[in-house]
Amino acid sequence: MTRSNRVVNRIILFVVGLTALAGGAVLLLPLLGRAAPLRLPAPDTLAPATLAIVSVATAIVVVLSVAWIVTRGRGRTSQLLVVPGEAGVLTLDSRVAADLVADALAHNADVVSVGSAGFRMRGRTVLSLRVVARRAADLSSLVAAVSEAIGALDAILDTRLPVLLQVVPGVRVIRARENRAR
């Protein structure tokens, strides 16, 4: 999970898609025996001013596109908690939380692995736990066990971190079929 703006993603896809659809349709018009609807200037007589405007416009498009591409995926963090104190700054890494939960689930035969990450959302740091479960796992007790481990974490930290728990199937199930278990 990242902080990417999903509405803007959709708007970009919509605008580019509509433009491409319209452009493709214009190229296909001669197939229907119709002339292009636009009165295009005759080839090789493009005014230098037109060319300059197009160059500048495309340069802006390139800059905006590259800017959007390189700013994706922001918002991830490994520091769940930063507590400034007199002796220094205490930080809690997301791996500590993962180890704590993994320890609590060590005797649960349904759990293959536990991973963790942190991400910033709306001014809060969220702990994201990813539990890979075996086939036919006992989901209720798995969630209860994670909840208990998080309760212990709450008690240690004396604060309530927002937590996202993702439960995903192991590799064998994914390869078989995405939403099916036999």
């Binding site: 990417s4 898609g17 214009v26 197939l31 090789d44 390139v62 075996r134 909840s147 993702q166 036999r182």
Partner: protein, 188 residues
């Protein structure tokens, strides 16, 4: 942002695709095309020879109606339609969120299917390979293959599956449908 609102937001984002991959691929193509056209226009404005094709010739080619431009038009229109669909469709992932008061829980449908499978095995007292389960957005289907001559209590299996689903509190809500194979199999 309060915790329930934050959790709602997290769950919604986890249940839908971000489309970031599609957007990045689209923008890479757009940037490359724009860079080519911009460069050619700049070169033409300065009276320099073109890199690949002069803008005037490109424009002439576009309205010429040759087989190449028509093929290109079809491909571009198709890619545009795909981008439009990606933008407009809901982009749901095969996941459900579960009700929980401390955590935001999001579970892949295959894991819910696995939990139903485990439950059905027990309530129908069948061997593991006699039970199959799958979960879609609104429906969970459990298929049982009975041992020949030994009937299965369908109502009990359905009740057990429904109570498991109710306990999990999946959202969007899921209803269990239990099917029994008309032909049983011999042996355990």
């Amino acid at each position: 942002m309060t915790e329930p609102r934050l959790y709602r937001r997290i769950r919604r984002r986890e249940l839908h695709r971000s489309r970031s991959g599609a957007t990045v691929v689209t923008l890479v193509v757009v940037a490359l095309l724009a860079a080519l056209i911009g460069t050619e226009c700049a070169l033409a404005a300065l009276g320099r020879p073109p890199l690949l094709i002069a803008p005037g010739r490109l424009l002439g080619l576009a309205v010429s109606g040759s087989a190449i431009t028509e093929t290109a038009g079809a491909v571009v229109a198709l890619l545009g339609a795909v981008a439009l669909l990606l933008a407009l469709l809901p982009g749901r992932r095969s996941r459900h969120s579960l009700a929980h008061d401390r955590l935001a829980v999001v579970v892949d449908d295959a894991v819910i299917a696995g939990a139903l499978l485990r439950d059905a095995r027990r309530s129908a007292a069948l061997a593991p390979d006699r039970v199959a389960a799958s979960v879609s957005r609104r429906r969970a289907s459990v298929r049982l293959t009975p041992t020949s001559g030994i009937p299965i209590d369908v109502a009990a299996v359905r009740e057990s599956a429904d109570s498991l689903l109710a306990e999990l509190g999946a959202s969007p809500s899921v209803r269990a449908v239990v099917d029994i194979a008309s032909k049983g199999e011999v042996g355990s």
